[in-house]
Symmetry: C2
Subunit: 189 residues, 2 copies
DNA sequence: GATGAAGCGGAGAGACTCTCCGCTTGAGGT
DNA sequence: ACCTCAAGCGGAGAGTCTCTCCGCTTCATC
């Protein structure tokens, strides 16, 4: 998923470090904001600054990688949920996850997105990955006949985003109710 | 408009410098992005770093001030246009200005907004200032009976923003056409 | 003009990003 | 098992950026 060059795969320790750094960075960004120093992240990950900067030539590349990883996790969850639950429930759970994600990471996501936007290749990648996941889960639920046939994957994405934005100014109770309303609307009547 | 303390007005030189810095910063941000060093801006404005940092205790405050000024200019233009032109034309011109602004400053505005968002007091101020301006110009045009009665100031803001987003991926020609379509839709039929 | 307060400039402290290079370690060959 | 060497590592330090401090200058007032 994040291999650099398929011709010669990363050495085991290099890959370990790469993943370690992304994980630590994600934690650090969430806890302390995107302004946390890169050297700090290196230290917390138990690697030298050189190692960090070899994997991520600039600070922005690191931010990009975290953003990408975050989105990738959200998309992956769609596929995982499909294996664990019946499609209808999977879709409902996924939408709820999406909303929680938007609410919890709102500020972070905005800043990450702003940092990433310039070299928007990554941004495009994220968008298509999310859409593919959303399409898949929606289609599965539709094949079972549990949700309306005229809903698209993009709709779900937008609903998740919209609900999240609305919910970030509302209480947890309200959020649940809003989500319930939308879920009800999605089901075949 | 940007006075700090009405009790004791700024000294003339201080105010001059304040305005100078904001103007230079706006130019610098537009030309070179928001990452341009604060010291550079001080130099270009012909003041010492100390002066800059007294007026704007942190770099973010400077960004905030520029964002605020930018929005303020857009809002002010609504009132200015109302004095120069008949209300219908004023509204049309303003909407076009808005679109151009969104297109030209898209990247910048996003980053500014992301930087500002945390201490969102400024953000709120900007929003209400824009809405007031929009409401005023819409109401004037409606009183003349030249645009639909069911349109609100917020609608115009949204249209401006939406058109701008759509237009940033389209050609100048397309933008003009899109704008013409919307303007046509706004007129009483 | 004289005087005090408000404001100015820029050297420099501290922090951050990124580079460089000698040392270490994993992986393939024998 | 051991050898070899490219791949990878760490961290000192160069260069840059933000922000502070304080002696000097300028404005406003009398």
């Amino acid at each position: 998923m994040v291999t650099a060059d398929p011709a010669r795969p990363m050495r085991a320790d290099a890959r370990r470090n790469y993943e370690r750094i992304v994980a630590v960075a994600k934690e650090a960004f969430t806890a302390d904001g995107v302004d946390v120093p890169a050297d700090d992240i290196a230290k917390r990950a138990g690697v030298g600054a050189g190692t960090l900067y070899r994997h991520f030539p600039t600070r922005d590349k690191l931010i990009e990688a975290v953003y990408r990883d975050e989105i990738d996790g959200l998309a992956q969850q769609a596929y995982d949920l499909l294996e664990e639950l019946p499609p209808g429930e999977a879709l409902e759970t996924w939408l709820a996850t999406h909303v929680v994600y938007v609410v919890e990471k709102h500020g972070l996501a905005m800043t990450l997105k702003a940092s990433v936007d310039a070299g928007s290749e990554v941004f495009g990648w994220c968008q298509s990955r999310l859409r593919a996941a959303s399409d898949t889960i929606v289609k599965a639920a539709q094949d079972e006949g549990v949700i309306r046939a005229d809903v698209t994957g993009t709709d779900i994405l937008r609903l998740g985003h919209g609900l999240g934005s609305a919910a970030s100014k509302a209480s947890g109770e309200d959020t649940k109710r809003l989500l319930a309303i939308v879920l009800d609307g999605l089901r075949v009547s």
